[in-house]
């Protein structure tokens, strides 16, 4: 299958502009992320004063974790608000039929609309909270532009992993009548296992090793480590971090394709 670049650029651009039209929602999101940033920041300060160096982070790094997580919250679709509710609804109402007769692959279609959305939310909902956090607290942000570029690459890979998980959730609607149950579970899981609640590097022992191997780690923990340079020593650590994300992205996209063909076969055979 050859990738039809102009089409997918247009789809991503559409996804971007779609979210850009809702300026009030964006402003409300920025406000919420900023307020939560302060709340969690003071919680972390209390925690890191009791236990300095927790998870291998000093206080500035811990606060960086807070503010960058807030900036990436919407981009990585950690708390819903992405496309999968829409996909579930289209399956439920039968609107999915319209998507199926088009000469465009369903998974790629949603991937690129979601990447467009993620790009908008990185700019629209990410920049302001991070800037506020950087003004109010001392953060450990790097000065090296290459670091920032690597960080963006890592965010992109994280967004793809996040998409791939949510695509599976979306397709679940072909088998479940109502997706809200799985969505709720998925949100709780994502908040904890991405490192949103506490950095995954904080968790000790086998449990810590385990959570750092799950795909959710690719959505927040890994991009933050890449940004702060805490991903493990030197170039090898960097390659390992990005490779970890890429491996999960490809695995989950592959699973999505399998689920997609099972779902379309189900529709094709059983009707909608």
């Amino acid at each position: 299958m050859r990738l039809h670049v102009p089409l997918w650029c247009a789809v991503a651009a559409g996804g971007f502009r779609r979210y850009a039209t809702y300026t009030t929602a964006t402003a409300a999101g920025v406000f919420t992320n900023t307020v939560f940033g302060f709340v969690i920041a003071y919680t972390y300060i209390a925690l890191w004063e009791e236990r300095p160096g927790l998870g291998g982070y000093d206080q500035a790094q811990a606060l960086t974790f807070v503010w960058v997580s807030q900036a990436l919250l919407a981009t990585s679709g950690l708390m819903g608000g992405g496309f999968h509710e829409e996909l579930q609804q289209r399956v439920r109402t039968g609107d999915i039929a319209v998507d199926l007769y088009r000469p465009a692959d369903l998974q790629l279609w949603w991937l690129f609309t979601d990447l467009g959305r993620a790009a908008f939310q990185l700019l629209g909902r990410g920049v302001v909270p991070l800037a506020v956090g950087a003004l109010a607290f001392e953060l450990a942000l790097p000065g090296d532009p290459v670091r920032w570029l690597l960080f963006l690459l890592s965010v992109l890979l994280g967004a793809v992993v996040s998409f791939a998980i949510r695509y599976l959730l979306g397709l679940a609607a072909f088998w479940l009548l109502d997706g809200s149950g799985v969505n709720l579970i998925a949100t709780v899981v994502a908040i904890f296992f991405s490192g949103m609640l506490l950095p995954l590097s904080v968790f000790p022992g086998a449990f810590g090793e385990f959570v750092r191997l799950l795909p959710w780690a690719a959505m927040l923990q890994v991009p933050l480590d890449v940004l702060m340079g805490t991903q493990g020593a030197g170039g090898a650590g960097l390659v390992r971090a990005l490779g970890f994300q890429l491996a999960w992205a490809l695995t989950l996209l592959g699973l999505g394709r399998l689920a997609q063909s099972a779902a379309t076969r189900k529709v094709v055979v059983q009707g909608g």
Binding site: A97, P103, V269
Partner: protein, 376 residues
């Protein structure tokens, strides 16, 4: 059954090895064919009479071929606390028809009769449980992507447009999705914008459009890639009179000028009367009737109604070949066979009674169909 247009396109496509070129070449050659084919079927259509089953003979080459198609769904039903019963539902139960290029066909039937299932099989979204389907020689379920370039689909109750974005963004997306060459895209879009009155709507987000505007927008979206066949599922549902007229006029012109084959499902008898030479009636998954609309009336023994206003109240009118179904003051309702001419009847009423005003009411399609079933 492939015609020369198809074969030629396929050969070129094979040599160049590029899917898009293949489709473009294919469509270009078919377009020319479509126009000659159209004149052909026009003649064939008038000579067809009440027999239906058009296109199987010499009335132009068949673009849509449906042969013994069935679609059986398995429905699981809870019959007790733990017991489940599997039941087979035959949504489409052995349907055969062909549609020659350039024809406009109405596909009607009550809710749940199997109309949408048929359309879904024709678009390749559903695979038939049995039987054979071909659109321009393409097997829809197996070659869905290839078919997509040849068909346009409009579901009256759903939209293909990008909800939050201006209408023109959706068209830009269509251009890329169907890989429509720039000049052709611009020509087709201009045509649709002019004739469907979309000029002021292009910059409006789709969510702000009225139902009629959105429907016109959707029809345009389905036509930008020059499809050979247009499927319309309830294209006028919920539209006001003005919008209905616009949509119908546009479809008529499209069919006349480009020879686009149209298959439409509808509940609106006027859609059929104004657009279709031929009508197919489906119920319980079976084709009950296939032929011209006039023939449907004779099969269904339907009646038209002559509403007469007399100068004053009068005992029920008695005329041979009619029956008076209702009297309300000076107004009376006379039913007469839909196949009979109203003219002699009107003359007779005028001669014998103090006539002030009159009108003729056409039978309701639901009525006609209901009678047809009752007669079986």
């Amino acid at each position: 059954m492939d015609g020369t247009g198809d074969a030629a396109g396929d050969v070129t496509g094979g040599m160049e090895g590029d899917m898009t070129e293949d489709v473009a070449g294919d469509m270009a050659s078919d377009r020319g064919f479509g126009e000659t084919g159209r004149a052909h079927t026009g003649r064939g259509g008038t000579g067809r009479g009440g027999t239906g089953r058009a296109g199987t003979g010499g009335g132009g080459k068949a673009l849509i071929e449906v042969d013994g198609v069935r679609k059986v769904f398995e429905v699981r039903r809870r019959t007790g606390l733990m017991r489940r019963e599997k039941r087979e539902v035959r949504a489409v139960d052995g349907i055969s028809f062909t549609v020659p290029r350039g024809e406009m066909v109405g596909y009607i039937g009550p809710n749940g009769a199997g109309k949408s299932t048929t359309i879904k099989m024709l678009t390749g979204i559903l695979t038939p449980s049995a039987g054979r389907l071909r659109i321009a020689g393409i097997d829809p379920a197996r070659q869905r992507t290839r078919l997509a370039h040849r068909i346009g689909v409009v579901f009256g109750q759903r939209t293909t447009l990008w909800w939050d974005l201006p209408l023109k963004d959706s068209y830009g997306l269509m251009r890329r999705m169907y890989r429509i060459p720039e000049d052709r895209f611009r020509r087709n879009l201009r045509r649709c914008v002019d004739e469907l009155d979309l000029g002021d709507l292009l910059d409006v987000p789709v969510r702000q459009l009225s139902l009629g505007q959105r429907m016109r927008g959707d029809i345009a979206a389905a036509l930008l890639h020059d499809p050979d066949v247009l499927y319309l599922d309830e294209p006028t549902i919920g539209l006001d009179v003005v919008s209905k007229v616009k949509v119908r006029r546009f479809l008529r012109e499209l069919n006349a000028e480009l020879g686009t084959t149209v298959l439409l499902t509808t509940h609106d008898l006027q859609d059929i009367e104004q657009l279709c030479e031929r009508v197919m009636v489906i119920d319980h998954g079976r084709l009950m009737y296939d032929g011209p609309l006039a023939g449907l009336h004779s099969v269904g023994e339907s009646e038209r109604t002559l509403v007469v206003d007399l100068e004053r109240e009068h005992p029920p009118i008695e005329l041979p070949g009619t029956r008076t179904v209702k009297v309300e003051g000076p107004r009376q309702w006379l039913a007469f066979p839909a196949t009979a001419s109203a003219a002699p009847l009107v003359a007779e009423v005028a001669r014998r009674y103090p006539l002030v005003d009159l009108s003729v009411r056409e039978p309701d399609i639901e009525d006609v169909i209901a009678r047809m079933y009752a007669g079986r």
